[in-house]
Amino acid sequence: MPITKVLEAQIDHVSILDEHGNFDESLGKGLIPDEDLIKLYGHMVICRLLDEVAFKLQRSGRMGTYPQNMGQEAPSLGAAYALETTDWMVTCYRENCGLFWRGLPMEKILQHWMGDERGNDIPRELHATPIAVPIGTQMLHATGLAWAAKYRGEKRVACTFFGDGATSEGDFHEAMNFAANLDIPVVFFCQNNQWAISVPGKIQCSAPTVAQRGFAYGMDCLRCDGNDIFAVVHCMNKAIASGRDNKRPTFIEAVTYRLGDHTTADDARRYRDAEEVELWKARDPITRIKAFMKSRKIWDDSKQAELEEHADEAVSAAVKRAEGIEAPNKEDFFNWMYAELPEQLVVQRDTMRTSSIGQDPSQIESPQASQQS
């Protein structure tokens, strides 16, 4: 037999609560207790509102460029819900909902996009890394963080989030290869929202699934409806168990959709059809849970009204806190450069000058004159 089959692949797609309200009892029963589901839903509603408010802040000049998370609340939230707080979350910028679940104060995210580095000063106990701006780079850090946990004999995993576009970067492939070949417990969580700014997913991956990229590196891979929080939690539970027990990485492709523009600097009408957006609005992760909870009689209009009021308060309070933070001190961009500031930087900081005479005015003034000034 000169030709034999050496490999056959299968990629599973997981859907538990679909957009029509169909619920798979065999997979979904007991997966998320009702009281947790109510809390998760509340987080999504708050997160969505924050997005709307942030958009207005940007438009009125109170905030810089901001990437809305609208439509993508479920993937990171489901992941954060499944993880322990001691597990690492290594994110980019569409994981607000999961980070808030983890406990990141909302004003931290606002502060970051308001152009203040202190927004990245994340409480250490949250085990979350700051927003990674260079696309596709942070998965290697997740691999290192998880490696350290394994080295120390801890049962932690690292979950790293990235978009479909990020899977084109070389670093992403290196991270997958390291984790798979060195047995490092990383969950590679791709939020496939089908666009990278204006570039459609098929330019990043012409294979039928992004998930099979994980397969190519020899790791387990799963694909799920990312707007179905049950499916996300199901996949995460599997991935986390495999990481904790066997130190194996898993690739999860969560299929979702960016309902808004790429950022406030973008205008998606230039490159994508309104029809496509409408199609995905019907698959919204938030309305889906709401309908489900109503059908289970654990949610009603008065609870909704109460939640909306609470969301309003929470978001305005976060905006107030973010805007109330005293302006950053210009010395700060020097002071945090090194554990110990080199003398040359001390001089630059103290004079706010780079020119030699500016740093040492005695070169032109009499010592007496400089004492007077």
Partner: protein, 322 residues
């Protein structure tokens, strides 16, 4: 003649070179239908189609690496890197291959490639969207590095870059993409790579700058009563030291202004060559008004970082009093 912004002037240069030479093609992230995130390639996709205006996968090393291959095959690729902060992944391809190909093959292979990159701060952008890495690439032998400060120069220099037989990094100061307009001839013309421009003449002092900082220099000069000569380098490498020498020999005083961090900024090289060439004419130590040796801060503090007219004005006064 049309009154154009820097973005429009670059767009015009691209259109004209593409019409003239079918070896020219553009590739990068979002350069197609979207016309680039700064709209520099606006309308080109419609005009030239998807074979010549190519949206690539999100991979800078891929963009530059394949451009090197395209160029080695005799085409004239003009890749766009979306922001200077994302040159990082492409660094290896630029410095380990593009810059070395001609010399290591003794000319058997060449890389006539023009890498367009928006550069610099001052637009309230997020992190890694505001840096000034021109000296890093000027330090790599084998590359040419260009940074126009006006629409007229942008068009003429870009045409020169595209026609240049060697790899050119063409930095576009994003702060002045749309800040002002200038008469730009419809007709084809070039501005030579390696030639500085005397923006205004003067006898007391020379200011040497490039990119968006040229605008701050002009503001400071307007406020000053001294007679100041302003030189816009236009090309960082190979640089027009003759123009600098001529001016500083006349004025005896020089302030160099750039956004990049001071240490090992390109001002350091210019200052050294002034010292070597004009030692006996110098009346005062050459001054550098530059970015600080820190990470470019997020935008709330970017104006404290960037050299502005106030800091330049102080340096003018101080060097005058020396």
């Amino acid at each position: 003649m049309a009154n154009l912004t820097l973005v429009q002037a670059i767009n015009l240069a691209l259109v004209q070179e593409m019409e003239k030479d079918d070896r020219v093609l553009i590739l990068g992230e979002d350069v197609g239908l979207n016309g680039g995130v700064f709209r520099v390639t606006d309308g080109l996709f419609k005009r030239f189609g998807g074979d010549r205006i190519v949206d690539t996968p999100l991979a800078e090393s891929g963009i530059i690496g394949t451009s090197i291959g395209l160029a080695m095959a005799g085409l004239r690729p003009v890749p766009e890197i979306q922001f200077e902060g994302f040159l990082g992944p492409a660094y290896d391809q630029i410095c380990s291959h593009a810059a070395r190909m001609r010399t290591r093959t003794r000319g058997a292979f060449t890389v006539p490639l023009t890498i367009r990159v928006p550069v610099g701060g001052g637009i309230h952008a997020p992190e890694l969207h505001s840096d000034s890495p021109e000296a890093i690439y000027a330090h790599q032998p084998g590359l040419k590095v260009v940074m126009p400060a006006s629409p007229y120069d942008a068009k003429g220099l870009l045409i020169s870059a595209i026609r240049d037989p060697d790899p050119v990094i063409f930095f576009e100061p994003k702060r002045i993409y749309r800040a002002f307009r200038e008469e730009v001839p419809e007709d084809e013309y070039t501005v030579p790579i390696g030639k500085a421009r005397v923006v205004c003449e003067g006898d007391d002092l020379t200011i040497v700058s490039w990119g968006a900082s040229v605008v701050q220099c002009m503001q400071a000069i307007e406020r000053s009563s001294a007679s100041i000569e302003l030189i816009d380098m236009r090309t960082i490498y190979p640089f027009d030291i003759d123009a600098v020498e001529e001016s500083v020999s006349k004025t005896g005083r020089c302030v160099i202004v750039h956004e990049a961090p001071r240490t090992c900024g390109f001002g350091a090289e210019i200052a050294t060559q002034i010292m070597e060439r004009c030692f006996l004419q110098l009346e005062a130590p050459v001054q550098r008004v530059a970015g600080f040796d820190t990470i470019m801060p997020y935008y709330k503090l970017e104006n404290d970082y960037l050299p502005d007219a106030d800091r330049i004005e102080l340096a003018i006064q101080e060097i005058g009093a020396y």
